[in-house]
């Protein structure tokens, strides 16, 4: 069995976001970039299925600039067997990402695609669902548990109101939620080993997918600030303020 795991290079979750003053976007120069945290969870899940002997090959794929090679090496260090960099400079919209992934699925024929439920930069949360729709494969979004049973996969999903369990026949698409697993920190030997694992580079254009964005980002601005608050010294002062100043209780 084969798994494809898409991974995205994003601004590290612990780095403070700086919006460019001219409204043209977020300043990423010289800032720490990392694998999207949800994608780390996806790589971890695939690695565990491989370690359990259920899966033979885990292929990581990233669509992005040359530096996304680092993200792919990180996935290889966590346990992916090989990697594909689809080179694309500039932003690639979720629909184009889904189309590129569809083309790769058609050539690589995985049984399962596991990917993050959203990337923490654009917060769009679209690609897994789009890929599933384009392929005509069933989908399980927001997975917090994945159990493989032959050609059937049972997924517990984090939904509004609790947890939902569904089953899908393979091939299928899964998107990961935070509580699916705790991704490992790759050991030094596996980081070294990852440097020798195969990493193929292809040009996005060769897949015949149009990359020009279809949505126009007219501006990117900081959110409106809140007016500064005040400290209260005691519980009774808090109650007084809530009753008589804010009038919310």
């Amino acid at each position: 069995m084969k798994i494809l795991v898409p991974v995205k290079r994003v601004l590290d979750a612990n780095v403070a976001v700086r919006v460019k003053p001219d409204g043209t976007g977020v300043d990423l120069t010289n800032l720490r970039m990392s694998m999207n945290p949800f994608d780390e969870i996806a790589v971890e899940e695939a690695a565990r299925l491989k370690e359990a002997g259920i899966v033979q090959t885990v292929t990581a794929v990233s669509i992005g600039p040359a530096q996304a090679t680092d993200t792919l090496r990180a996935a290889l260090a966590m346990g992916a067997d090989d990697a594909i960099l689809v080179k694309a400079d500039g932003p690639v919209e979720p629909l184009a990402v889904a189309k590129i992934l569809k083309a790769l699925v058609e050539t690589h024929q995985p049984d399962l695609v596991i990917m993050g439920k959203q990337a923490i930069d654009g917060d769009s949360g679209q690609v897994a669902q789009m890929l599933s729709a384009l392929l005509g494969w069933p989908q399980a979004t927001f997975a917090s548990k994945v159990e493989m049973n032959g050609s059937i996969v049972r997924v517990t999903r984090e939904v509004d109101g609790g947890l939902e369990t569904i089953e899908m026949d393979l091939p299928a698409v899964i998107s990961t939620d935070l509580r699916l697993n705790n991704p490992r920190r790759a050991s030094l030997p596996s980081v070294m080993q990852a440097k020798k694992k195969p990493l193929e580079e292809i040009d996005a254009a060769s897949l015949g997918v149009a990359l020009e964005p279809t949505l126009r980002i007219a501006s990117t601005l900081p959110p409106p600030g809140r007016k500064p608050g005040s400290r209260v010294e005691s519980v009774s002062e808090l109650i007084d303020k809530l009753k008589n100043e804010a009038r919310v209780i």
Binding site: L95, G162, D177
Partner: protein, 309 residues
């Protein structure tokens, strides 16, 4: 131009996020139809028909739609899509699972989680956990979007739109429903509550979470929320998580108890009208967004607060 809103329901009742998505649709300025996709869902269609501003309700009733599986539901939306310029749904786990599929099947991008409608083609949406707000212009002949429900009020229920039934047969491979475990709680709904009390890692255990947070929430008639750390540690169920990757709430009053205020948490609550933070660390970032900050030990301050109310 006509807008179609996909109704959010649990096959028993129409859920509140629908009325908020309809308000967002009103701001687009085109006539509004609502689609109810379900099984034995006539009652839900009748509820949707009462939403103010809705001109027509489409009902697609098929057994494949009983549990809201995204594959047939998205196919149902696409089956009626030809008549619409705009297709939207609330950005709940239901809408989020379905609408990107609709967009892909129609060959367009989705505009995710809009927080403001500027015109029929221009929307605001947060990115980077709300650290930036994008203005997005969509020029395709079909605009697919999801609506951040907390950013819009709900329309009223004085309407009486006609209900029209549409035939539908699914063709796509689909996931199969096995079961659902509800988080219980029974208190007010987190997404629409006027007051939310949220607990963080500081609570230390599920027992203490219940002992400290629940009585305060009960006194205030509040819904209960939690930080990711509290959910991960098992103090609170997953669907109480507030934040970038959990629920986004904007109640009149949000009380953060032992929550440090990481940007991912702030993303889910910083548009609340009044924010109270109780934390023992005077430098906790939560105080930067709090209207009223109390530096105190939660195990003393919260029971005192509960008692005094």
């Amino acid at each position: 131009m006509t807008t179609l809103i996909l109704a959010e329901h649990d096959n028993a009742a129409l859920l509140g996020a629908t009325a908020r998505a309809v308000l967002a649709a009103l701001e687009i300025g085109a006539p509004i139809h609502v689609l109810v996709a379900g099984h034995n869902a006539t009652g839900i269609a009748q509820s949707a028909a009462k939403l103010e501003g809705v001109e027509k309700v489409l009902l697609i009733d098929h057994e494949s739609l009983a549990h809201g599986a995204p594959e047939p539901v998205s196919e149902a939306v696409v089956a009626v899509a030809a008549a619409y310029s705009h297709l939207g749904a609330p950005a709940t786990t239901y809408g989020k699972s379905i609408m990107p599929r609709v967009a892909a099947l129609l060959g367009v991008m989705q505009v995710s989680e809009i927080t403001k409608v500027l015109s029929a083609h221009s929307f605001e949406r947060p990115v980077y956990a709300g650290a930036a707000i994008e203005t997005v212009e969509a020029t395709a002949d079909k605009i697919v979007f999801t609506v951040r429900a907390s950013a819009f009020d709900a329309v009223g229920e004085g309407g009486s739109a006609p209900v029209e039934t549409v035939e539908f047969t699914p063709t796509m491979r689909t996931s199969r429903f096995v079961g659902r475990e509800s988080a219980g709680g029974g208190g007010p709904d987190l997404a629409s509550a006027k007051i939310v009390v949220s607990g963080g890692r500081a609570l230390g255990s599920a027992e203490q979470f219940n002992a400290i947070i629940q009585p305060l929430a009960e006194k205030l008639g509040a819904a209960i929320g939690a930080s990711r750390a509290a959910v991960d540690a098992g103090y609170a169920p997953n669907d109480w998580q507030v934040g970038q990757t959990g629920k986004v709430v904007a109640p009149d009053l949000y009380i953060a108890v032992g929550i440090s205020g990481a940007i991912q948490h702030l993303a889910g609550m910083k548009n609340s009208k009044v924010i109270v933070a109780i934390d023992k660390d005077p430098d906790a970032p939560i105080f930067a967004v709090a209207d009223y900050g109390l530096v105190a030990d939660i195990f003393e301050a919260v029971p005192e607060l509960t008692k005094a109310l």
